[in-house]
């Protein structure tokens, strides 16, 4: 067990270490101007010197992503359950979903400003928007994959429609929904940078945007690293959650 843990860490970090090495060599060799590509040491200094700022920016971004993805979860999952269960509901929403899921959040910034103004609201809405589609699609997929027999079992048991949703469809679709949550969280972080361009004064996206404008490549890279790290943390947390909630799948599927 300990051995497997160690192997996971070594293997998981090796591409990142390689990247760091290439980055270091590139800066030492002077392949790019330091205005464009800062040295790893310069980025490290940002973490050392400005960690309170970084912490504050990370905190605000975290809240926005959690809010946006959380909103997406409570809207997309119930709707996805209904769409997957009832054919007319699916026929109503299918085309709309297929159209909207292809839209990138950044293209919607002007509309977000028009409808939701500036500041936190459009930022959270944009994250919600980008997180909504992967969640609803995986939820529908999850519902459609519920074993047909189980519906018959429920009917024969005289289970109410509500109980079929809470006790049969939802738990059966949960692994798929949690996969959707992973995708949604990733999409949320992706959209964050665009979302925080709309008149907010904090957050990692804002920090990166302003650092770009001021040509502070060291801050840009620090922001990118933070987003990546927080994204990884989120992903691992959802995996853990899945392992806990879907313990019944142990040995049934490859995780």
């Amino acid at each position: 067990m300990a051995h497997r843990h160690l192997r996971r860490i070594v293997l998981g970090l090796s591409p990142l270490a390689l990247l760091l090495l290439v980055w270091h060599v590139a800066t030492v060799a002077g392949a790019y101007s330091s205005v464009l590509l800062p040295a790893p040491a310069a980025v490290w200094l940002i973490f050392v010197d400005s960690w309170p700022d970084l912490l504050r920016h990370t905190g605000t971004s975290l809240v926005r992503v959690l809010l946006g993805v959380g909103l997406a979860f409570v809207t997309a999952v119930p709707l996805g359950l209904l769409i997957g269960r009832f054919r007319p509901v699916e026929e109503t929403f299918d085309w709309t979903i297929q159209i909207f899921r292809c839209l990138p959040g950044i293209a919607l910034i002007p509309l977000a400003i028009l409808f939701f103004g500036i500041g936190d609201r459009p930022a959270v809405i944009l994250i919600w928007f980008s997180a909504f589609w992967p969640l609803i699609i995986t939820t529908i997929f999850g519902v459609k994959n519920v074993e047909r027999t189980l519906f018959k079992v429920s009917r024969a048991a005289l289970a109410s429609n509500l109980m079929v949703f809470t006790d049969v469809i939802f738990p059966s679709a949960l692994p798929s929904i949690l996969t959707g949550l992973r995708l949604a969280t990733g999409a949320g972080w992706l959209t964050l940078v665009s979302a925080e361009m709309i008149a907010v004064k904090s957050g990692l996206g804002y920090m990166i945007m302003y650092a770009q404008v001021m040509f502070r490549a060291d801050q840009v890279v620090a922001g990118i690293i933070l987003i990546g790290a927080v994204g990884l943390f989120f992903d691992q947390s959802i995996q853990l959650l899945r392992a806990r909630l879907c313990r019944w799948q142990d040995g049934l599927v490859i995780q």
Partner: protein
């Protein structure tokens, strides 16, 4: 059989070739990429290829989505020459990039407007002003607010220039310090009125300049001369008649011709490098340092080279 058209073309090249080609030393590049952003203040850019073609230089105009990308492309050597706001150029030069200001490009082009209730900047205490981060407008506004001692009391809201009209109209921001044609568009729609003439700072109307990298200039002095010359001629064309610039604004930004024409009145194309042009650039650098945007200044003697004009 030789058509009349072919004869005509052959004749034209016969006239043009001896006049142009010998002027270029063989080692110099025969094509250049010009970086720009579509905006009312960089309207010489689309005219440059026409004038450079007359000098036998193929020019490709690359429009970037925003000013940051444009500057990054120049810094990365993807474009050889470009239009840049003077503060952006100073910012990069102060970080050691070998940028050179070749010529003046455009003056003015921005304005501070807001809700009619506000008559001056001092009225905007506790209020929100939208400004594009990194723009010369931001620099000037921050300087002025500091000068008035109210920089802590006014909230600057960072928005892309084109995103400003909607929140101004809905009243979510109280004023905007935008680049043309946005202020004119908002004003003529009746969503805001003039609050402050932004040219009354040490920055004056200094705005867009023509820049290139020092290494490019060193390797291609004759090409550089032709670029500057084309720029001067494009500027003169716009000074004579800016209707082509207004028409482009109408077409690309989907504006009414009346708004475009009105916006042009606040944009001053110039290639004038006389008088205190050099001094005014140093003044911009001073303010940037004062506002904490740069920590060291570029080598001014190398940063400004107007000898090609």
């Amino acid at each position: 059989m030789t058509t009349r058209r072919q004869v005509l073309i052959a004749g034209m090249s016969a006239v043009a070739a001896p006049a142009v080609i010998p002027r270029l030393a063989r080692a110099e590049v025969s094509s250049v990429k010009i970086g720009s952003v579509f905006s009312g203040t960089t309207m010489q850019a689309p005219l440059l290829p026409k004038y450079l073609a007359e000098a036998g230089i193929k020019a490709e105009l690359i429009d970037f989505a925003n000013i940051t990308q444009r500057m990054q492309a120049l810094a990365a050597g993807e474009t050889q020459v470009g239009y840049a706001s003077v503060n952006g150029a100073i910012l990069l030069a102060s970080k050691g990039l070998d940028l050179v200001t070749l010529c003046n490009g455009c003056e003015g082009g921005w304005y501070l407007i807001g809700k009619p209730a506000f008559k001056s900047l001092s009225d905007l205490k506790g209020k929100k002003i939208a400004v594009q981060p990194g723009s010369i407008a931001q620099l000037g506004l921050e300087w002025k607010l500091r000068d008035l001692g109210i920089q802590k009391e006014v909230e600057l809201v960072f928005l892309n220039n084109n995103d400003m009209p909607a929140p101004m109209r809905s009243g979510e921001i109280d004023a905007l310090h935008g680049v043309e044609p946005i202020p004119t568009l908002v004003r003529m729609n009746g969503w805001a009125t003039d609050i402050w003439n932004p040219y009354e700072t040490p920055l004056g109307k200094r705005n867009v300049v023509l820049i290139a990298s020092r290494s490019f200039i060193a390797k291609n002095p004759e090409t550089t001369r032709q670029i500057v010359k084309a720029h001067v001629r494009a500027t003169q064309e716009l000074q004579r008649d800016n209707s082509s610039a207004a028409a482009a604004m109408v077409k690309i930004l989907n504006l009414s011709p009346a708004i475009a024409a009105e916006a042009m009145k606040n944009i001053f194309y110039t290639s004038d490098v006389g008088g205190d042009f050099g001094k005014s650039i140093v003044a911009v650098g001073d303010i940037m340092q004062l506002m904490g945007q740069i920590t060291s200044k570029p080598d001014w003697s190398k940063f400004v080279d107007t000898s090609f004009v």
